[in-house]
Amino acid sequence: MQLVARLCAERAGLRIDPEKHYLVENRLAPVARREGFSSIEEFLGAVRDRDEERLIWALVEAMSPSETSFFREPETFELIAQKVLPDLARRSEGRPLRVWAAACGTGQEVYSLAMLLSEQPAAGSTFELTGSDLCERRLEKAQSGLYSQFEVQRGLSAHRLVRHFENAEEGFSLSPRIRSSVRWRRVNLVEDVGRMGRFDLVLCRGLTPHLTEAARERVLKNLVDALSTGGILALGPGEAAPGLVAAPGLAGFLMRAEDRRAAA
């Protein structure tokens, strides 16, 4: 347990509660099997003894938070469609709006945005959507656009299901048009993310409670630095970022204090 907690904190700033043995078992059992070990103990022994980057990252990636669903907290998406994107589009002077769903797991969050944009394009605007996660395997699943019957029933309306999906051999496949509208990057948010450039809207909901205090500070600074002038950051309920204030009229959305003054 200590080894898992130490590696997760060192590599990705993740805070693993030592009490949550079941979480470690649930997450690491499939990884141990995939890597050809007969038990989690054997897998952890190999991680400790071999000191192989590939095994260490298999562990850390599996332990990173994965909770996601389509249109999670639907009121957030309603505000994005009705207010956030139209406001950003008005100020963009015709350039494409850049949107980043950070720590997007298996892609439901960023695909929800893509569906929204295809249904209600903000007048005259084009968009660049980027989804990122720490976990390579989750990104592979996201890119495939394949979701199980259980996954498409969490947050996705039947009207959106028939509009944007096709039946697949197992489950449902997102339409190529929606799939191709998203770019994917593997990003460790505790490292330098300057190469990502600046974004008009960044969503990173529900990650920071899973981080160590030092990592939380670093990740939030990275996310704030990734905002373009007037850019908006959406965190989960109860999460805050130093230096950011509530965006006017947009409950749950944050922006830089100086941008808010300039927009007033």
Partner: protein, 121 residues
């Protein structure tokens, strides 16, 4: 208290649905097929109907078409709840006037999420 009519020929499904719906604060009535459900509707208009597709006396789709053709038949929200997962069939259900669609098997989270999408939770 909001009323939900569960229409399904499987007693087990009706029992599972009842437990979930009562936990969500609904009063639950049950019917074993579309014909029985239509009879039930002569006395009470439920807020929402959880409707199976394949049933012996009258299918869910036939029931829905008949319901929507009745005076005030637009009122109850209808959520199909079926093993059918072909998108063509789901389109057919929505075109006939279904508000939402649940593919079996389901759990409490899915039912709650679909009730919310149908505007009854």
């Amino acid at each position: 208290m909001k009323v939900c009519l569960v229409v399904d020929d499987s007693r087990v499904i009706r029992k599972v649905a009842r437990r979930i719906l009562e936990d969500l604060g609904f009063e639950v009535a049950e019917a074993g097929d579309g014909a029985e459900a239509l009879g039930w509707l002569r006395t009470v208009t439920p807020h929402v109907i959880l409707l199976d597709w394949n049933m012996p006396a009258m299918s869910g789709l036939e029931f829905l078409r008949e319901l929507r053709a009745q005076p005030r038949g637009e009122a109850p929200r209808v959520i199909f709840c079926s093993v059918e997962n072909d998108l063509e069939r789901i389109r057919e259900a929505l075109s006939a006037g279904a508000d939402e669609y649940i593919m079996k098997p389901f759990d409490g989270d899915i039912v709650a999420s679909k009730l919310a999408m149908a505007g009854v939770l």
